[in-house]
Symmetry: C3
Subunit: 439 residues, 3 copies
């Protein structure tokens, strides 16, 4: 994953443009992403797809002709969506177009101006202080034309139509943790799921520019949102900080409980926080009109690490180990969703005799082992109203232990599945309605 990110790092991404297309093509080398090109000017919910922005070159030259700020050196130097400009001006006038971080004098900040026409440059404050009061030549050789916004989408069909949405933003230029790390983890997660033949859920992966990307996808796919039963936005997954799971707006959706359960038993430092309407694309998925059960997983949360949105968010900040841990947490969450079924104990009155089935120690008197405890918990709470995740929460035992216990009990006929029966009930219900009407 870290190598993959290294290749993507220099590409100049924004909310539109060729850098985004190149990014999506590189992802396509791993998973068969579909690309959607949405024309500028398309109305999407309360928004409009903007013009497409591309950069040929951008710099500031001093009186001697030396490039003192140079887009070629780092794409962070140019404020994203800067309009074309050419001119000469004294430093005092130029300053109104320059952004620095005086409290971090060596770092270049990352700034954007998607929806207001302006141009600007970002640079290290230490560099700014070296500039003398002379006259400077400014060149912003960008284009802002009718074009397209590009979305990447990958649907992995499962046994049922219910979907898990995995969404990550692709609009940041040379920043590693935010959000090449999210792109990498989402790509690897998709690769893993593609190889898993027994998928219950369908999985929809979105690689999209932040905000306008999810707005656009939601606008064009409103009828598909009903199928989304669980979802995650993935971002900032490469730093060494503790994990952060931000709950969906619902607060107690199955994804919220699944992520909390996985992190609780993961052994990793972590924090689970309530939804807030600020962050990444969960803002749109969790807007009140959609209110999808979409949470957000990251290491150090959005905006909480000091390198955030600066040139210090580079490939050094991100480690292969942190990426690996993040992928493993994401896989465990998916495994939990896949395995979280609700059963009925076929012998609900009293405990079944486990000993004669080899599920209980033959010599009594000693304390049970945790595998046997897990069997007792699954039997006791499998009353057609507790899912295995419910049982994990009540018992304090880890989900995989309960999943294995359920599998052993199923093999012995001591549990029976409900999901199909429920659907059968549902079908019967549907079928019987006309009879009522006839009467």
């Amino acid at each position: 994953m870290h190598d993959f990110m290294r290749g993507l790092f220099p590409v100049c991404r924004s909310i539109t443009g060729d850098g985004n297309r190149e990014t999506l093509h590189r992802i396509r080398q791993w998973i068969p992403l579909e690309l959607h090109e949405v024309p500028s000017g398309t109305p999407v919910l309360d928004w409009t797809v903007p013009k497409e922005w591309n950069v040929q070159d951008a710099y500031i030259k001093d009186a001697s002709g030396r490039r003192v700020v140079d887009f070629q050196a780092s794409n962070l130097h140019l404020v994203s969506y800067s309009v074309p400009f050419r001119g000469t001006m004294p430093l005092t006038e130029l300053r109104q177009h320059l952004f620095t971080l005086p409290e971090r004098p060596d770092w270049i900040p990352y700034r954007t101006s998607y929806y207001e026409e302006m141009w600007g440059f970002c640079l290290a404050d230490r560099e700014l202080r070296l500039l003398d009061e002379g006259t400077y030549e400014v060149c912003v050789d960008t284009s802002m034309k009718d074009g397209h916004l590009t979305l990447g989408e990958y649907l992995l069909e499962g046994k049922i139509e219910d979907e898990v949405l995995i969404s990550t933003h692709i609009c940041h230029p040379s920043l590693a943790n935010d959000n090449l790390s999210g792109i990498a983890v989402a790509t690897w997660l998709a690769g893993y799921l593609a190889r898993r033949r027994d998928r219950r859920f369908s999985y929809r992966f979105l690689f999209i520019p932040g905000t306008i990307g999810s707005i656009t996808w939601l606008a064009l796919n409103q009828q598909k949102t009903d199928a989304i039963k669980h979802g995650l936005t993935v971002s900032c997954l490469g730093d060494r900080g503790p994990f952060t799971y931000k709950r969906s707006r619902r607060g107690d959706a199955e994804i919220d409980r699944a992520a909390g359960q996985v992190l609780h038993h993961s052994g990793f430092d972590h924090e689970v926080v309530n939804f807030s309407p600020y962050g990444y694309d969960e803002r749109q998925y969790c807007s009140p009109g959609f209110n999808l059960p979409v949470g957000s997983i990251s290491r150090t949360a959005h905006g909480r690490y000091r390198e955030y949105h600066t040139s210090a968010d580079d490939l050094e900040l991100v480690t292969p180990q942190a990426l690996g841990e993040s992928l493993s947490v994401a896989l465990s969450i998916v495994d939990l969703l896949e395995g979280n079924e609700t059963y009925a104990n076929t012998n609900p009155r009293g405990e079944p005799q486990l000993g004669r089935r080899g599920l209980y120690p033959s010599v009594g008197g000693k304390d049970l082992e945790v595998e046997q405890l897990a069997i007792l918990w699954v039997l006791n709470l499998s009353d057609a109203s507790h899912s295995l995740l419910d049982i994990a929460e009540v018992s304090g035992l880890a989900f995989p232990l309960l999943r294995r216990a359920a599998d052993r009990l199923l093999r012995h006929g001591l549990l029976e599945g409900l999901p199909d029966r429920r659907r059968a009930f549902g079908d019967a219900d549907e079928l019987s309605r006309p009879e009522v009407d006839v009467e």
Copy 2:
């Protein structure tokens, strides 16, 4: 407020009598209070309005004719509702009628005997110890006759008939914190609200003797209690102690949450405690047959300061600053109730584009300011089921910030109000019922 209390301090108040009338007349110099005179003997719920009690004079003279205990010096010296008595007796016999506080030898206690016929005097324990064993002349020149119980009431009509009840007791003689402070804060609050033209709620102020006053008002106004949607008893608001809010019997009424929210963000030390059926007139308002949403606000809670119900509860205990803070807290609670509306986001699918409306920073990349966060919270939770108070509780942001955000969003058409629509629905419902009957 402190000057106003100074004027009221020497007046001999009880549950009936001319001292109460004088107190109400002095309040009338500030707000146009209505006075109700309820005749002795009137049955009120399980009680009966008592005879009216007035004091001409009361003293104990020693053998030399010196007044050793003198009502003229402090009205606390006479047990309230002492029956008339004249006689001479040795100290041993007299002692049965004397009340002191041995643990606070310089303070005169405050005692009452409203519903059992007796007479008694209260004095400092140090004074009692100076009395020799001789014979004493006792004079209790009081009258206890059919008369009236006097209630003060002030109704400020608002746009809607729903009422906020503010109730304070006026039955204590020369005690400052309990409860001239409550009288002063209630009077000033009424004055403020009378000048506020845009009142949504109607406000009903009651200045009444404790227990029998609220029992009497409730008995005579049972049909009016349905309109009371929020209420506060106000008392002990002049000492320097931390604020105490005691919840209504309901525990989660809007007034309970409003008071908790205001105190939480007030910066003042405070405690929020659950309802208990002991205290002031909230005991009656929150009796199970009424169960009104009436909480109770004070500084140091009822009975918890050592000067409570003694001569040390004087004008020194009460400070202008504490009174001012109390008034400001009361005003903030009222402002919250007035401003606590529920809205619907008119663009519930995705976030509306705030930038083009000047509600969002044009240059992206930096963290939001709290005013912008407030806008995002109001938009996200305004789904016709969360009030602004709900949003304050969920977001942790202060109510006034959210109120301002809602006002900005309303001006931009991004929110729409619900209260009127709801009433309209209600009306339609009323109208359609006859049709059902016809059928």
Copy 3:
């Protein structure tokens, strides 16, 4: 109780056999227990009543003919339900049949093999280490024949058919805390209740072997389980550890709240823990098909004291004082269940005038005493929906105080009972059903 336990201690109990019969006969000297003999082979839920097991003798002799392990010395030496065996073998082969506790070298462990045919001996690890590598003679002179499983049952009828179940296991041989202590406390509790004439509930006491005993009783009495409204398994009640109450599977059953309330006000160290499907017969009563409101009371919880299931769980571990405390806690729980009624305040609007009824101090001005506070709480919350236990939980006052307050208020006609009215409603319901059928 301790003397009673001393008599029972040497008896060789198991899940069947004459030792159990003797145990039940000894209990019968105190309470008129009914004995049920259930034949081997009877199918009971998912189980089968096992053959009856009795021991004549069992030992291991060394080459010199000395009994190095001897059932006569302690019945713990023989694994319970060991099948008959006679033979000679070297130590290496014998070792597979020997159980010790290397970490507690002086204690004999307690082991069973009810449902797998084997034989074995338990001994102190220190003794095992003294055995030389010679040849040993083994004698397991047991019988395993069709016979019976013996249950002890005692039903104390009350005014209503609703039952409280008290269940304790009797299958452990010479172990004192687990569970002669439970047998003793249950027997004394039954004796007390038998003398109490005003019992509201019926009480059903079960003295049964663990697991198979409750399975058997439940199988044969499924129709009786509906009447069980509260229940406790009692065990491990003689050690000096803190009390442990384990909630029923329901978690908030009245018995759970009653036990929590009693322990909270008991002054004893205690812990209240959630249900888990491991422990004693509550495992069966709380299986999902029954889900009875049965909790579990003990001192140090099941398996948590180091002497558990070893020869160190002897009569020294158990003290008369601990047994007495346990009985008093059990009695308090029963008293609470008996007295926990729901009332309606007959004067719900405002407080009734308590002073004229002698329920309130005549001289006002001082703080109330707790008895008067209890009266105010009962009046305030007796709205036909709060039981006295509810009021205890809300007010923080101890249940007996509220029970006494309710009794005083009932005598003054200020409360009226609801339970009978409810039953009357219930009856009416029953009566009206046929009319519906006729139609």
